[in-house]
């Protein structure tokens, strides 16, 4: 049996699954001041009268990282960056202990200027004086050649225990995001470590010894050991859990929209043939742009409890939530009140809902019935409009080769899957407005916990080969080999596969769940003075986000 646990902002959902069905599901309020207690409560409820030895797998998704970033409850971090020519690295400053130093590597990974040891020692002294414990080291083009980061690391390791390096977080090029990602990992490390060590110890005391997996923003999991190197990857795992929970109900070979309609917000995601779409570079929300692999989700301020107002003589929904619906004792009319008044939803105090509708109706000089109808329609059509915009945005994503441009895959949604509290009541109207078949995911209120429970372990590797320089390397994996000029595509693919499998198993994957996918392949001739000097290969391969085998929960 497996356990899935998703601790959200307002409540925590948890499920106990056998290989055939959901054995138990619970929902408890989240104690934001003590997430550990919330987790413990969930386990206590789930494991009542269950032998802990029967549990084979535990997957946990929490808002721990997200909360600490939002509440600025993070450790101070010392950052050393080596940038070389380009945009002034001062623009990418994170925290108060930020040290740009000499040294430069170019796009092919060649050293242009060396690291100056004295500068690093001087920065180390200052950081030590400031009481810094956690360090990030980031070099421009370090995914092409990590030697400068490694040199800096070797100087700093005499002064500090915990040092994070840029080339470890991703093979993707984006220096500012690499800085932000390393900073995040270092800043949340101690909190992450303390929290999960406490969880593991407590579960052990209960006799639960199955390995704990932690959900990441890409809808995959990692084991505790891996999470200690990349704790930042746990940020925004909540929306990912919901999307993963919709997968068992997504048909094959179709483009699907997944909408998680909550009280405050609606999260949108896209699935192609049961595989959720990933962000091309990493989490890109607002100020927090990073290289953290994440599902492509969009969150908008519209939900069942959105505030309904009149703006310039027209009904407006959201983006704020001012409290619960009036039918549940709130003070502002909401779409939920409209649905209760219309009899679509049977809950709360209908007379209070009617009061809300009357408020809106009097301002517009229409009947409460008309007001409720207009609010309901407006809410559903706004949600449909958001999905349209999301699809449009994905389809307008630029591509870099003629082939991709012409064969460019266009998302064409054929079904909408709904999750969340208000979902069952809105499905019919959303289907009518969008003209797209719309269904509600069964047990949708705990689908997020089911998604977490069933998520497979994922990871990605990047391999570079340069036959002119005679090297194949995967800096993230500490891998470098010499190659000959006869190196071919097949060789690159073989190495990439080997490295990816190794990494996945180390992160806690089970072999039968390794669904590998080539996400990028480029091969270029290096030509100088009209003659072929060698070839460059660039390979990116991933374990596709998806569900583990052996658990059929299809409705």
């Amino acid at each position: 049996m497996i356990i899935g646990l998703d601790v959200g902002g307002t409540h925590a959902d948890a499920v106990l699954l056998s290989d055939k069905k959901v054995e138990r599901s619970i929902k408890v309020p989240t104690d934001t001041s003590n997430l550990f207690n919330t987790v413990l409560t969930c386990f206590n409820l789930l494991l009542e009268n269950i032998k802990p030895q029967l549990i084979q797998r535990v997957v946990i998704s929490t808002t721990l990282t997200t909360n600490s970033v939002v509440q600025k409850n993070i450790d101070p971090v010392g950052i050393i960056v080596s940038a070389g020519p380009g945009i002034d690295p001062d623009n990418f400053r994170r925290g108060n202990h930020y040290y740009p130093v000499s040294g430069s590597i170019d796009h092919r990974g060649r050293e242009i200027k060396p690291i100056i040891h004295g500068e690093i020692e001087a920065a180390a002294e200052k950081m030590k004086k400031d009481g810094i414990k956690y360090i990030g080291v980031i070099g421009k083009f370090s995914p092409r050649n990590p030697s400068h980061e490694i040199t800096i690391h070797s100087i700093l390791k005499h002064h500090f225990d915990t040092i994070f390096m840029g080339h470890k977080v991703s093979g993707k090029l984006n220096f500012p995001r690499r800085i932000a990602t390393v900073y995040l990992n270092a800043a949340v490390f101690s909190m992450h470590k303390n929290f999960f060590n406490a969880v593991t110890d407590t579960l052990k005391q209960k006799g639960l010894t199955a390995p704990i997996q932690i959900l990441k923003a890409d809808g995959g999991t990692m084991n505790l050991h891996t999470s200690m190197e990349f704790p930042g990857q746990t940020i925004l795992s909540g929306p990912a859990a919901s999307v993963m929970g919709a997968i068992p109900h997504a048909p094959d070979d179709k483009d699907i929209l997944v909408l998680d309609i909550g009280g405050t917000t609606t999260d949108l995601a896209v699935m192609v043939n049961k595989a959720p779409l990933l962000e091309p570079v990493g989490i890109g929300r607002g100020k927090h742009k990073s290289l953290i692999r994440a599902l492509h989700t969009t969150s908008k301020g519209i939900g069942g409890d959105s505030e309904v107002t009149i703006k310039r003589g027209a009904i407006a929904i959201g983006p704020d939530r001012k409290g619960p619906a009036m039918a549940f004792g709130g003070n502002t009319p909401t779409p939920t009140d409209a649905m209760i008044y219309l009899g679509i939803m049977d809950a709360g105090d209908k007379s209070l809902a009617e009061k809300g509708m009357a408020q809106i109706a009097s301002k517009l000089e229409i009947s409460p019935q008309q007001a409720a109808e207009a609010i309901f329609t407006k809410t559903c059509s706004k949600i449909v409009e958001l999905t349209r915009k999301m699809v449009e945005r994905i389809n307008s994503k630029p591509v870099y080769t003629v082939h991709e441009f012409l064969e460019g895959y266009k998302i064409n949604p054929q079904q909408i899957l709904l999750l969340g509290g208000p979902a069952p009541f809105m499905a019919a109207r959303i289907e009518e407005i969008s003209g797209i078949k719309t269904t509600v995911v069964p047990m949708s209120s705990v689908a997020n916990a089911i998604g977490a429970a069933l998520a497979r372990t994922t990871c990605e590797i990047s391999l570079l080969a340069d036959t002119e320089q005679g090297i194949e390397s995967a800096p993230e994996e500490n891998y470098t080999e010499t190659i000959t000029r006869n190196y071919r595509k097949d060789d690159a693919m073989k190495t990439a596969q080997k490295l990816l499998e190794k990494k996945a198993i180390q992160s806690g994957a089970i072999e039968e769940n390794l669904e590998l996918e080539l996400t990028e392949f480029q091969e270029f001739n290096i030509v100088r003075r009209f003659s072929l000097q060698g070839k460059i290969f660039r390979v990116k391969m991933q374990v596709k986000p998806g569900l583990i085998k052996g658990f059929s929960l299809a409705s």
């Binding site: 100020k287 742009k289 307008s396 003629v402 480029q522 270029f524 001739n525 072929l532």
Partner: protein, 437 residues
Amino acid sequence: MLKSDKKTGLVFFPAFDWAIDPTHPEREERLLYTQDQVMEEGIFDINGITEYKPELINADDIRRTHFCVPDEASVTTESHLISAGGAAAIGRAVMEKEIDNGFALVRPPGHHAMRIVHGGRGFCYINIEAVMVELLRQQYGIKRVVIVDTDCHHGDGTNDIYWHDPDTLFISIHQDGRTLYPGSGFTGELGGPNAKGSNLNIPLPPGTGTEGYLYVIKNSVLPAIEEFKPDIIVNSAGQDNHYTDPLTNMNFSAQGYAELTTLLKPDIAVLEGGYSIEGALPYVNLGIILALAGMDYSNVVEPDYHPERLKQASNVTDHIKRTSDIINNYWKKRHEMREKAGANGTIQERHREIFYDTDNIFERQKERIRICRECAGALEIDSQAMPGSRIMAVHIPLNACHACKETAYDMFEQAKTTKKYSKIFLQDRPKDEYICF
């Protein structure tokens, strides 16, 4: 988060699967390292910089600019349609005021492609700037356009297309034609009788450095643009003036390019040549992008940049000053030169020979233009390609007067009466029509 002063749009289309042939300078690898640099700098995360997807232009778009022989499909590939479409996407975004300015980093290039296209010249098949400009004229009604071509090779294709158009000020700054392909672009090449002085060619001696480029921009280019009062400024931003370029002999730098961009303030920049793909392009393109966006580019320098080694010789400086004076003199006298070019309503002939180096085609042209004080003039071109066919192309300019329209239709009807031509084309810009007989 980093924010730009100007709203800048970028199209990035490196055509990673298109090459003239595997070891040709115009090959897949060309923009690879530029892409690396742009990605690593996080350019697309800057608040104010937007990446646009290239459009795909069609035959109708090409037919406003070119006469393709035998047809558009035979002389273009999808890459060309996307490359021109990349420029068009930026042009449209500027017109729609979504962005203040933009840069199309696309390949294949286009500035050697002339009005008639029998094949490839200087790695170019269709003129991506001209196709874009004519598309914008058609859809947004703009009239006056400046195109400044800063590629190291004379922009002879663009020069040919706008040779007779007084509404387009075409300025090409390039290495002296006596020392570099295509061997043209001398100061005396000023345009046809209806447009004398609206084509300015500024040849610079080998060894010209940043100082020399900026001198002609400040002393000749900017004053002419100011007087011309354009609706838009286009920069054919070739990058082969760079001190590391393998095909040329100049000493321009990334810092220089960025400063040139700051001075010129183009609405639309379009990448042209530039074959120092590791030593120059990543830095030059980054410099141009930051300059367009109004951001600090002072730290954008090549790994082997030593300004003292790139200092311009004093005889080169003197030479450039003299050239600049000649250009300014021509510009001042442009109206006078047009008056002297011939009597209104008469027909003037021009004979030319054109070599298509990329496809090894030799073309002979006999061009006849109606001298007109009111419009760009009716134009016919009798073109014989070897190997290839003989065609007649008749062009009615966008702003054509009644008499020139009549003349052009007469030219077209007259051509039809002979059996000399395998094809006869009529490009009617006012009607946005293209007839192939």
